[in-house]
Amino acid sequence: MTEEIIKLEDVWVYYDGVLALEAVSLSIKQQDFLGIIGPNGGGKTTLLKVILGLLKPNRGKVTLLGNPPEKTRKFIGYVPQHSLFERDFPISVWEVVLTGRSGQRGMFRQYVREDKELAHEVLKEVGMIDFKDRQIGKLSGGEQQRIFIARALVTEPKILLLDEPTASVDTSMQAEFYDILERLKQRMAIVLVSHDIGAVSTCVNKIACLNRRLFYHGSKEISPEELEAVYQCPVDLIAHGIPHRVLREHHIEIKNKNAKGKS
């Protein structure tokens, strides 16, 4: 059974009078793990906002599980790039994760045992249960990232949407991060947006390239020409056809190559 989760049909978005997305069509199904790559300013954040229903497209249609996104976006587990919270916000990890349940629980109601059990479960899943009473701002970038994944998972999403997930994660923690995604992709669709080609190609099974227009690939294979069309500069292709385990061991080298490729 392959339920269509996200569907974009000919979506155009003008952001402050500038064309940000041009004729974007996209279909994400239940088992998909899609990586969307593209340069900064290529419309990645705009695309996410359109999917989440935070931004109305000027043209075209967006459906989430067959409905307009405003109605069904609570089935998305959203992991923002860097939550804009203040570092000394007086809130514990536990409370942050529970906020993921706030929409499901309904207004005026307190969190019930089911919410707390779920929060406990997802914190275990991301390996952060021992940190549950810590203040969120006291954690490292990688640890915070895992808390935000937990907060997204606690909503019991059908799809996980990650915006530049490796931006604030140091290299040593990235492997653990991909392990978590590896496990999660059995249970839900995942969309990962990044400007970091290395990050995207580690574990995804489909790739799309976005630079105002979306070039969608059914598989992980992209030709150098296609990638260059998106980035509009020569790009080193590094990750294709390499088994995951080998890739993880060479991670630092890959990052370096990657940086060189984009300069």
Partner: protein, 266 residues
Amino acid sequence: MDLLEILKNPIIAGILASIACGIVGAYVVVKRIVFISGGISHASFGGIGLGYFLGIDPILGALVFSLVSAVTMGMVSRRTRLSEDTAIGILWAIGMAIGILFVYLTPGYAPDLMSYLFGDILFVSSQEMILMLILDIIIGLVVFLLYKELLAISFDEEFSTVAGLPTERLYLILLCLVALTVVVLIRVVGIILVIALLTIPAAMARQFTHSFKKMMLLSVLWGIVFTQCGLWLSYLLDWPSGATIILVAGILFLASFFALQRRRHV
């Protein structure tokens, strides 16, 4: 005994004010809505003027005006392309201008005008205290019922929207709580100085805890300390009560801030 008799009302009023400013101030500080709160309090002067003009209690005018300006500022800053601080700045000034115009158009002399601007807790009436109590109860009830929602939007509004919360409505509710608090505080420190009691007790409390609930509680307690000390000093020295309360609060905050800062660095 005599002294206590004179100061009984102001003492109670100070406590009632501290409850509102402690609870709502905690949100104002962590959600960084200090500027919009300042806008709401100043715009409520329009209601004071309208009250004089229509011959009703200016406090009631301020209540209506602060609620209307809270909703207007919230909507304008969210829904239009005007940037938030520009929208606030404009509405802030319009509200005050309306107040000044109404006061001017009201025949005769506007009694107590200064006390609305700068507060006068020593002469608070029982009627005003009942209004403060009612508003405190409303504020407490709303925060109790919507605690998890208001904490969620304060921490991360975008995520809360995606998680299914009606974040814009909740934000407007929060601004209305600010508006009610402004009304509670007018008699104590006046609309010009309201912003101090919305920020200083909460900022003080935040230095001592990492739990939002404790921060609220502590900020109520600090509010009580500030108002009672200020009240007592203003009575002894015969200084204006509003300004004295604020200066006590400000000095204690700065002292504790720098003391903690130094301890952290040593």
